[in-house]
């Protein structure tokens, strides 16, 4: 009996070791779908269809980038496919293989251009997309200023609304993801500043930008002061700590899925220059050290299939990058955000702002400038003019160092994008 046990265990071990290399699942090393439930759905609903299976491993940006750099330096690796946001991938240019051989005819040209990272090669293939939206608890709707249309709010109406909420409920009820994991910098880059200046970079220190920051300071008065710890607004929406919030669609999804009848999603507010908004684009790439390039390419092609893209939407609340019919039986979060995104992108005053392009590994420092400006002006109460002048100098130096031309909504430039 015991002997049999030992023998079968030894046999099993032998089989496992022998079968190991042959069964090697490609390693999908990703910064996306990190919340445990999303990871579970990625593995069970999205990756399961790939022949032989996929080892989908999400990880924090720190370990993610460290592992990639280590494999590149060591010259050999186990990662088959990289998944990350445009910003995550844009610093990796030299470590990625050219994916021009993949059939991308179904993917939009603008997204594909982002994926070239300013080189002539297709460094990453667009994988999934999203944007940021506003969410309100339905309890907050009676406090809307008279005549305001939820789908066509202005920043001034936002302030009036949050003010009425703060005064009517006894405490500030607007929430903003300004915590360490929050995506605040994208709000300033893609929403607030373009809405007031029509620009992200060039007009950084203009009088209009000064005005925009003063508007935000006003809004901040009616913002929950605990916002500096917020990362995913779905949490505070569900605890009723905040009633109105701004965040990434994937970070508000849980509110709709848990209490679909209690919340509404709506477009970001508009400023004098229009209703500015910024997309979120995630891409997939293959590192030069991938153990089996053919398998990696096969996995990327699999990720672009319509049924995979729909399964990804279900799993992560990120929308497909290819034109495809979205079925009706989607989770409440997808239905709510799809309607609001359509209202935002289709608005007559819509002003799309693109993701930063051509910054290479300076993307993080670029965002830090906007975060620093926010912390200095709004949290530390430093004078707006002086802070903008100082940070503009940092921004100017960064654009020159990265030699990055302007991107929309800034007007195209010949050399590095100027900061006036």
């Amino acid at each position: 009996m015991t002997f049999d046990h030992i023998r079968s265990a030894a046999l099993a071990a032998a089989v496992l070791t022998m079968a190991g290399p042959a069964l090697a699942e490609p390693l999908f090393w990703s910064t996306q779908a990190k919340p445990v439930e999303e990871t579970q759905r990625m593995r069970e609903q999205v990756m399961a269809g790939f022949p032989g299976g996929v080892d989908y491993q999400p990880s924090d940006e720190g370990p993610w980038i460290t592992r990639i750099q280590a494999e590149a330096q060591a010259g050999s690796g186990t990662i088959a496919v990289l998944g990350g946001l445009h910003g995550d991938l844009s610093s990796l240019g030299a470590m990625l293989v050219d994916l021009s051989s993949i059939d991308t005819s179904a993917v939009g040209a603008a997204m594909l251009e982002l994926g070239q990272l300013g080189t002539g090669e297709q460094k990453y293939i667009p994988w999934m997309q999203a944007t940021y939206l506003m969410v309100a608890n339905k309890k907050a709707l009676p406090y809307l200023p008279a005549g305001a249309d939820l789908n066509a709010l202005t920043y001034d109406q936002m302030i009036a609304w949050t003010k009425a909420l703060a005064e009517g409920t006894g405490g500030p009820k607007f929430g903003f993801p300004a915590g360490p994991k929050g995506l605040k910098h994208r709000f300033f880059q893609g929403f607030l500043l373009p809405a007031y200046t029509g620009s992200t970079v060039t007009e950084f220190r203009s009088a209009e930008a000064e005005g925009a920051w003063n508007v935000f300071k006003e809004l901040w008065k009616y913002t929950n002061p605990a916002s500096t710890g917020y990362g995913f607004m779905q949490e505070q929406l569900l605890t009723d700590e905040v009633w109105v919030a701004f965040d990434h669609v994937a970070r508000i999804a849980d509110a709709f899925n848990q209490r679909p009848d209690d919340f509404v999603a709506f477009p970001a507010p508009a400023g004098p220059k229009g209703r500015a908004f910024m997309p979120v684009l995630a891409g997939i790439a293959v590192p030069t050290t991938a153990p089996d390039q053919a398998q990696s390419l096969a996995l990327i092609e699999y990720m672009l299939r319509p049924e995979t893209q729909i399964a990804t939407l279900r799993a992560t609340n990120f929308f497909p990058v290819i034109a495809t019919e979205i079925p009706a039986d989607m989770p409440p979060s997808v239905r709510a955000s799809a309607a609001a995104i359509a209202a935002m992108t289709g608005a007559p005053d819509a002003l799309p702002a693109l993701l930063p392009m051509g910054l290479g590994d300076k993307g993080g420092q670029f965002s830090q400038i906007y975060t620093d400006t926010f912390e200095r002006i709004v949290l530390n109460g430093q004078p707006v003019r002086a802070v903008l002048d100082e940070e503009a100098a940092v921004l100017r130096a960064l654009m020159v160092e990265a030699n990055a031309p302007c991107w929309a909504p800034d007007l195209a430039s010949d050399g590095p994008c100027p900061v006036k």
Binding site: R43, D60, G62, P63, T66
Partner: protein
């Protein structure tokens, strides 16, 4: 008579202090468990209840999570290996520091302290490159080696303070009674130091158990439970955060409970 009354009052005060200290330690653990054992709507609701509703949905999610058992097994392997290596290399070093004066002693002590004082996430990149080159990447042993480096300062410094607390005369007496150095160590010093060594072994275990960063970089197939769960917890919905937190804390508590008699024995030696 009056002296015993004072004594009694003092005793009561003392017991109250002990109970208070226990409550201080236990209440946050209790709150974690309440949240782990409650339904999602209760976890996000307000005001909160101070008694769990024993809704096991969140906990069950983790138990059913693909790869949890494999990760748990990896964690245990790495932690045990770390424990053995940390004590095996740390205790001799602690003994040498306590018993001998020799050139280079201060240099060694600083090396030990520096190891603990430098942020690991920055060391992870060169270590990962090294491991990939020599084939230690994604192995239980490789990660245990890094964790041992992290746990060594604890092992060295704690055993050092223990050994310096044990009178050298005891060993000398054994030597004059005909033991050789090795015998003297194992017959006289070891029984006295064993509980303290066990305590530093507990540290080593816990250091390894809770380490996230190196584990996340250096293991893929052999992910530890911490790398597997913890790094995705802070972005997960609130109820799962707590259930996952509990899933990590409970095994560590069980481990400390299992070795508590060694911790307990630490006191026993004072009654020698």
């Amino acid at each position: 008579m009056s002296k015993t009354t004072v004594h009694h009052a003092g005793n009561r005060l003392f017991l109250a202090a002990v109970v208070l200290a226990c409550v201080w330690v236990l209440v946050p653990i209790y709150l974690l468990l309440i949240n782990a054992l409650s339904a999602p709507a209760e976890v996000t609701g307000f005001p909160k209840w101070f008694w769990p509703s024993f809704d096991l949905a969140s906990i069950r999610f983790f138990l059913g999570f693909k790869g949890v058992t494999a990760a748990l097994w990896s964690s245990v392997q790495v932690a045990v290996l770390t424990m053995v290596m940390a004590i095996g290399t740390g205790a001799p070093a602690g003994y040498a520091l306590a018993r001998f004066d020799f050139p280079g002693k201060q240099v060694f002590r600083f090396l030990v302290v520096m190891t603990r004082a430098f942020p690991l996430p920055l060391l992870a990149l060169p270590l990962a490159v090294l491991f990939i080159r020599v084939g230690l990447d994604d192995t239980v042993l490789g990660l245990a080696l890094v964790h041992t480096t992290l746990a060594l300062p604890f092992a060295v410094l704690i055993t050092y303070s223990l050994f310096s607390g044990i009178p050298y005369e005891l060993e000398e007496a054994a030597l004059t009674l005909g033991c050789n150095r090795v015998q003297a160590f194992f017959k006289v010093v070891m029984p006295l130091a064993a509980p303290g060594i066990a305590a530093s072994a507990v540290f080593a275990f816990v250091v390894s158990w809770n380490e996230v960063f190196a584990a996340a970089v250096l293991t893929i197939e052999h992910r530890t439970l911490t790398a597997f769960l913890l790094q995705s917890l802070d972005v997960s919905p609130l109820p799962l955060k707590f259930a996952g937190g509990a899933a990590l804390v409970v095994p560590a508590l069980v481990f400390i409970f299992a070795v508590r008699k060694y911790l307990f024995a630490m006191w026993g030696i004072a009654n020698r």
